[in-house]
């Protein structure tokens, strides 16, 4: 690791190398800030790297995160210190002094080649391998661990010098000592995550005693190809594939017993569904999967659809109850689960081969001590307390928090908070050197012009993904026969650090001047492999990727020889193409660093402020006449803060801010350009005068609409209102409300239905908020809440418990038998069926509160999507670039989305997104120059017949006839579509990277064996 002492001004300390910590570090390094990333484990990656598949994409996403990890190690601005903990912190925001203690690794990182010899011979003295295999001595957390080295638990090692000799690279350092270092940093981000609850203490479930009772993570490891069973789903007791698997939700959560915690961990429902789906999809679809649950909490974006698909498409059985106990059967191989459901009061038992306990998050003992060291307050559940409106801000200035340690959340929300924390932490640091210096870090580019092609072919097996669907070795051998191929090899996980290093080594050794990678889609990994070529001194365009995974292995899994034959053909095409490819130079353009924010609600204002405070000039465009958006009419939040006052001061701050220009009554009419050089036209004010804004990045914060469906007499009876109306009434006429005797609320009104399939996430919390305020006013008021699933996720579960304690009556209703309302003078009568009593009920209520949730502002998003070419989801929200790892970026470069325009979310979560988007934008605009890449059209002046076809065909009017009488195309303006090249009658135009020669060579490669 390059060890350069950082002065306080430029370094941010990130504690915890999980996915949140890495994302924060990456964002900071992109924004040209130095980062000191510290993790107590031997390799960064944290919890996510052990997950086999993750929801909602059901991809392992390891390869989408591994580029982050390996990139993390490579970024010049990131200084990685594994096996290290923070032991002391002094100073204040802008200038902290931290003491770091590193435990010995007993392996010299520079020498270790991760060959695994020591691991084979001495499995016993390794740190604990989370999962079932408790013995391996040298622990490599996962195939693509970063740093790429093992670590030894010397205490557990019996034959030390035997271990030393076995290492071919004699990298083992017996007398490795604990090191202590002090560093001065400007701000700190706490991203240590949390542990998963160890259910051994729940004796009624028998985890730890019965081998076939496993935790969610352990089940994950069993399914994972890099897990102890190498991806075979088998019962731990006898290694036999299970026929019936059950999941028990809220193991240790939402409970009042000794070992339970009261809060909900927000993610267990989704990961249980995912594990059930993957069990059926990847192993055998005849495995019976059952989930025992109280409320199915799938409240994230499009998660409800995932839940319905689990039930309808995959046949996952859902049983609503809280199982009493697990008892093994006589043979000890199977387990009885005893449970009682509302419908039949008696106890029933069922036999299962495996039971998975969905355990939630618990702050580890480390974090409580670390919090004391950092001097940050914890909340009642020992998680770090974030601000009510600014979740990433802790009680101590200059110290920020993100991820699960701030509260249980899924990976997309963690990524949002990581970007937000990076943005806030960056305030305290100066600028740490621009990209130009980085460029020089690469070795000089070798000139290959004139050399006969020497092609290296690297074929990934990508674990099961490719290896499982075809005979990779046959493909590799076949590749050796192709023209100009001088080196072939099977690259395993090609995108992993190890394979990348090996590829660079082969390029040097075999003097390769072209590389073909048989791997996944160039859309996601082209940049990674191009970068690798660049680091090996090769021009990065001397590369061709054959998509043998997404467009072959994954779609012809069933026919092994067909997939193998096709892989050979795809690689033959790539070899043909790359032989014709030539080195290309990239074009650079100065960046316009202003930012355009569309939408003046809380999200828009928060991102404008976050950027403004960092010195960026922001234009905030609002369609209506005033700022504030939907939040402006909300009175209180669940925590009881005065929302209206908060929004008012936000508006004031924005209007007073000298870096932010607000334009109201502004409607977008046109848009053009590319990141760093956008032009967007507005018609402003009643006279609709036209004004064009020049900017480098764009934030879509257009919010969503409060849903008011014509149901339950809403709008037709005085006593029927939405939670929003009630929230306002509680504030304006408390006396009138206090003398209500009875109040009924109905959940999921107009949400989770056919025409609005998604859950609006916030309605359960707003119902509980209002219920608590009602019972504050009049403790004797009888409050009924009719619900389908109570989704008070995270710490809001405490409010749900408090509501029940105060006697609020919660009654579940089936989606297909909703409650009915009839007018009853000034009051209304609500008819519903109570599943516990098994009887139909009638309640006459002074007020009926409907939880109606949010709807996408379809009309606005449709117009904006057309103008900006943005993608949207089916229900009209803006679509992010990657649902899991890039929730804030949009697929069109330079565009970001924040707030309810992305999906329904609370104000607090919207602000996190807004600040996260500000963080992402600082990464984009930190560069002084934008790299336009090399895909531009070039005109051969000798062939051009000056026929004007290209001038007329170009959708962006770029080509023009210059004074030397031939067509000229400005590389800075060319968008690289290639339309002119295909129209040119004189074949004078070639689009670099997609010239005719490589395309023809690919066709010849594909079709040559026809004769």
């Amino acid at each position: 690791m390059t060890d350069h002492t950082n002065d306080a001004q430029t370094t941010v300390l990130v504690i915890g190398g999980g996915v949140g910590g890495i994302k924060a570090a990456m964002d900071l390094s992109e924004a040209q800030k130095d980062v000191l990333l510290v993790d107590k484990a031997a390799a960064i990656g944290g919890l996510m790297t052990q997950l086999d598949r993750t929801f909602p994409t059901n991809n392992c996403d390891l390869c989408t995160i591994s580029p982050h990890l390996s990139a993390g190690a490579r970024q010049q601005h990131i200084d990685l210190m594994p096996l290290t903990q923070v032991t002391a912190v002094t100073g204040e925001a802008g200038d902290f002094t931290v003491t770091l203690t590193s435990t010995p690794r007993y392996i010299d990182l520079e020498k270790c080649t991760a060959c695994g010899e020591c691991h084979k011979k001495y499995p016993e003295c390794v740190r604990f391998y989370p999962g079932l295999d408790h013995r391996a001595p040298t622990c490599m957390r996962y195939p693509q661990a970063t740093p790429q080295a093992f670590s030894i638990d010397m205490a557990a090692c019996k034959d030390v010098n035997g271990l030393v000799n076995v290492c071919p690279a004699n990298a083992i350092v017996v007398d490795d000592q604990e090191k202590v270092a002090t560093r001065r940093v400007s701000s700190i981000i706490l991203a240590v995550g949390a542990d998963l609850f160890d259910p051994d203490k729940l004796d009624h479930f028998g985890h730890g005693r019965y081998p076939n009772v496993v935790t969610g993570l352990e089940y994950e490891r069993i399914m994972s190809a890099s897990g102890p069973t190498l991806g075979e789903l088998v019962r731990p007791s006898d290694g036999v594939p299970p026929k019936r698997v059950a999941w028990i939700q809220c193991a240790g959560s939402r409970g009042i017993n000794r070992e339970d915690v009261s809060y909900c961990s927000s993610v267990c429902c989704m990961y249980a569904l995912k594990e059930a789906i993957v069990t059926k999809e990847r192993f055998q679809d005849d495995i019976e999967t059952t989930i025992f649950y109280m409320d199915m909490r799938t409240f994230g974006k499009d998660y409800e659809g995932y839940y319905q698909r689990a039930k309808d498409q995959y046949g996952v059985r859902m049983v609503r109850c809280r199982p009493h106990s697990i008892v093994p059967d006589s043979t000890g191989q199977q387990l009885h689960i005893a449970y009682a459901t509302d419908e039949n009061s008696g106890m029933t038992t069922e036999l299962f081969d495996m039971v998975v306990l969905s355990t939630g998050f618990r702050p580890s003992s480390h974090t409580t001590r670390l919090a004391e060291i950092l001097g940050v307050e914890l909340n009642a559940h020992q998680f770090v307390r974030g601000g009510n409106f600014e979740p990433v801000v802790t009680s101590r200035p200059g110290i920020y928090v993100c991820g699960v340690i701030e509260g249980p959340k899924d990976i997309p929300e963690t990524m949002v908070q990581a970007s937000a924390a990076a943005c806030m932490a960056a305030r305290h640091t100066g600028h740490a050197g621009s990209a130009a210096e980085v460029e020089s870090e690469y070795p000089p580019e070798r000139d290959v012009i004139g050399e006969t092609p020497r092609i290296g072919v690297f074929v990934c097996d990508c674990g099961q993904n490719i290896g499982g669907a075809m005979d990779v070795d046959a493909v590799v051998q076949e590749a050796a026969k192709y023209p100009h191929v001088v080196h072939v090899e099977m690259a395993g996980h090609g995108c992993g650090q190890e394979a990348l290093d090996r590829m660079r080594q082969m390029i040097q050794e075999k003097n390769l001047n072209r590389v073909v990678v048989g791997a996944c889609s160039p859309r996601t990994h082209e940049g990674l492999f191009q970068e690798n070529l660049r680091k090996a001194g090769l021009n990065k365009y001397l590369l061709d990727i054959a998509n043998i995974r997404d467009q072959n292995a994954w779609v012809h899994g069933g026919a092994r020889e067909l997939a193998t034959a096709k892989a050979k053909k795809l690689i033959r095409m790539a070899v043909g193409g790359v032989a014709q490819a030539g080195p290309l130079r990239e074009h650079r353009l100065p960046i316009n660093k202003d930012v355009l924010v569309i939408g003046g609600g809380v999200s828009g204002m928060s991102s404008a402020l976050a950027l403004g405070d960092q010195g960026y000039k922001v234009v905030l465009a609002e369609r209506t006449g005033r700022l504030g958006g939907l939040a402006a009419i909300i009175r209180r939040n669940l925590e009881g803060d005065d929302v209206r006052a908060y929004v008012a001061q936000l508006v004031e701050k924005v209007q007073a801010h000298d870096q932010i220009e607000v334009i109201t009554n502004a409607i977008v009419v046109d848009h053009s350009g590319m990141p760093g050089k956008f032009q967007t036209g507005f018609q402003i004010g009643p006279r609709m005068y036209y004004r064009q804004i020049e900017h480098g990045a764009t934030v879509m914060a257009t919010g969503a609409l409060a849903h008011r469906p014509d149901q339950y007499l809403l709008g037709r009876h005085k006593a029927v209102m939405t939670q929003l109306d009630l929230d306002d009434l509680l504030e304006t006429q408390p006396e009138q409300v206090s003398n209500w005797e009875c109040m009924v609320m109905v959940q999921c009104v107009g949400s989770r239905t056919a025409d609005n399939p998604n859950c609006s996430r916030i309605c359960c919390q707003s119902a509980i908020k209002n219920a608590l305020r009602l019972t504050d006013l009049n403790p004797d008021m009888r409050v009924f809440i009719l619900y389908r699933d109570m989704r008070t996720y995270g710490f809001s579960e405490d409010a749900y418990i408090e509501a029940r304690r105060r006697g609020v009556i919660f009654v579940r209703y089936q989606a297909d038998i909703p409650p009915r309302v009839t007018a009853d003078g000034d009051r209304v009568t609500v008819h519903f069926h109570d599943p516990i009593l098994g009887r139909d009920m009638e309640v006459t209520a002074d007020c009926l509160g409907l939880s109606t949730g949010l709807l996408a502002d379809d009309e606005t998003t449709e117009d904006l999507a057309a103008i900006f070419h943005l993608n949207r989801t089916e229900d009209g929200h803006f679509l992010e670039d990657h649902v899991k790892l890039k929730p804030l970026d949009m697929s069109v470069p330079g565009f970001f989305v924040a707030g309810t325009a992305h999906s329904p979310r609370t104000i607090r979560e919207s602000i996190a997104q807004a600040q996260g988007v500000a963080g992402r934008i600082q990464g984009l605009l930190a560069q002084d120059v934008i790299n336009l890449g090399a895909v531009v059209a070039r005109v051969d002046r000798d062939k051009c017949a000056t026929c004007l076809v290209c001038v007329r065909a170009c959708p962006y009017h770029v080509p023009f006839i210059n004074e030397d009488r031939y067509s000229e195309i400005d590389p800075a303006k060319c968008h690289g579509c290639g339309i002119c090249a295909a129209e040119c009658p004189a074949k004078a135009i070639q689009l670099s990277c997609f010239e005719d020669a490589p395309i023809m060579a690919k066709l010849e490669g594909l079709l040559e064996r026809i004769a």
Partner: protein
């Protein structure tokens, strides 16, 4: 510019059906601009010919070349090294190009691949319309700059005829009645009375009437 349109494939194939080696030559001037005989069209025709032969079980070896301008001896000379290995030349140039190759390479079978049509202008991308007949004695000065010889179906110099209706020629509504255009133009210029001056009978010798023509610049002629 000179415009042309590719001949039907069947006709071209008829010319060269008994050949095994073809030299297919495009031209980078007018026929490129009107997308009839440029480098791209050469490749398209080559591919089409190749497929046609192969479909009938015959082989053909096609060399594709595109000269800068096929009506210039020096450019045509570039074919010399390849002419002997070809049983026939198929030229995608306008009539001038085809005949220039014939003039240079005696005894070599040379066939046209395009129908040279007219001197015209690009009405809009991909559409060319006749504008000049090459009559050798331009009367645009008399008709407000719009030519009745090239653009009237009956070459009337004192039109319009009785068949002009709604500005269109009696022959087809696709064709503008040029005399309507001329009349509108004269009105624009405010010289309507110029219309009544009779344009006298034309001396067609400067057109084709006088036989194939030559232009000689004594100062340049070697």
């Amino acid at each position: 510019m000179i415009t042309a349109e590719r001949k039907p494939l069947a006709e071209i194939i008829d010319y060269i059906d008994n050949c095994r080696r073809i030299l297919l030559v495009g031209c980078n001037e007018c026929v490129t601009v009107c997308a009839a005989g440029g480098r791209k069209e050469v490749a398209m025709l080559a591919s089409a010919m190749q497929m046609d032969f192969m479909k009938r079980g015959k082989t053909v070896d096609i060399r594709e070349m595109t000269l800068e301008r096929q009506c210039e001896p020096e450019y045509v000379e570039e074919l010399a090294p390849f002419i002997d290995q070809a049983d026939a030349v198929v030229s995608m140039a306008c009539g001038c190009g085809v005949q220039e190759v014939v003039r240079r390479f005696r005894g070599k079978r040379v066939y046209p691949a395009v129908n040279t049509s007219f001197m015209g202008a690009a009405e809009r991308p991909g559409v060319w319309a006749e504008r000049c007949h090459g009559c050798g004695n331009c009367l645009l000065g008399l008709t407000g700059g719009i030519c009745p010889i090239a653009r009237c179906s009956k070459r009337l110099m004192n039109g319009p005829c009785g068949g002009s209706s709604k500005g269109k020629c009696e022959v087809s509504t696709e064709i503008d009645c040029v005399w309507q255009l001329i009349w509108d133009r004269l009105k624009e210029l405010g010289i309507e009375d110029r219309y009544e001056e009779i344009i006298l009978a034309k001396d067609w010798r400067t057109e084709r009437g006088g036989g194939p023509r030559k232009i000689v610049r004594e100062d340049l002629a070697q």
